[in-house]
Symmetry: C2
Subunit: 108 residues, 2 copies
């Protein structure tokens, strides 16, 4: 199952690293506990909308930008999952005699 | 403060209405309590990622599509908020004498 919090966590961490901020700096600026923010980044805890707004603000990044990137990554995951669940082409255990005969003829 | 859950609720309700489904139908298919889904749609309750995935599935809509629309609406709200907090152009209480003289001359 594709879970939104995993992508939110990844995006928050990626934005933070892009901006060269430490977990401690962002947690402090957003007034959230360092351990809590760490769990959110690892996709282990759901962040409330208030926490998301505070963290986005601490990262100087609009929440729309963060959620846009989350939506983009969810779309990529859905494509990968869709490919994974496609039915494989059926390869028969036994090859019909006609085909074997054709193959034999081709070699001549 | 712009809150993600308000937009998530609005988008879930809009998608449900577009598809002509009742709250009861979607709640039942997603195996969530009707009152809970109603609170999520009204932006009063945070939906966990598991609930979001189940509701999106019940609406036959990829979660990436829902979150993409949420991001779009958050962006629109941010623009409205930004316009609301812009400093108004300063209109002086008194008009300088030179300008009044110019205005008087223009009329001639």
């Amino acid at each position: 199952m594709i879970l939104v919090r995993h992508e939110i966590g990844d995006v928050l961490r990626d934005v933070r690293l892009q901006k060269g901020r430490t977990l401690r700096q962002v947690a402090s600026k957003a007034s959230v506990a360092l351990g809590y923010l760490s769990e959110v980044e690892r996709g282990q805890k759901e962040a409330s909308s208030e926490i998301l707004a505070a963290v986005a603000d601490a990262l100087d990044t609009p929440i729309s930008t963060i959620m846009g990137e989350v939506a983009h990554r969810l779309g990529e995951l859905e494509q990968i999952t869709a490919i994974g669940t496609m039915t494989s082409p059926v390869i028969p255990d036994t090859v019909p005699d006609e085909l074997l005969a054709d193959f034999a003829n081709t070699g001549k």
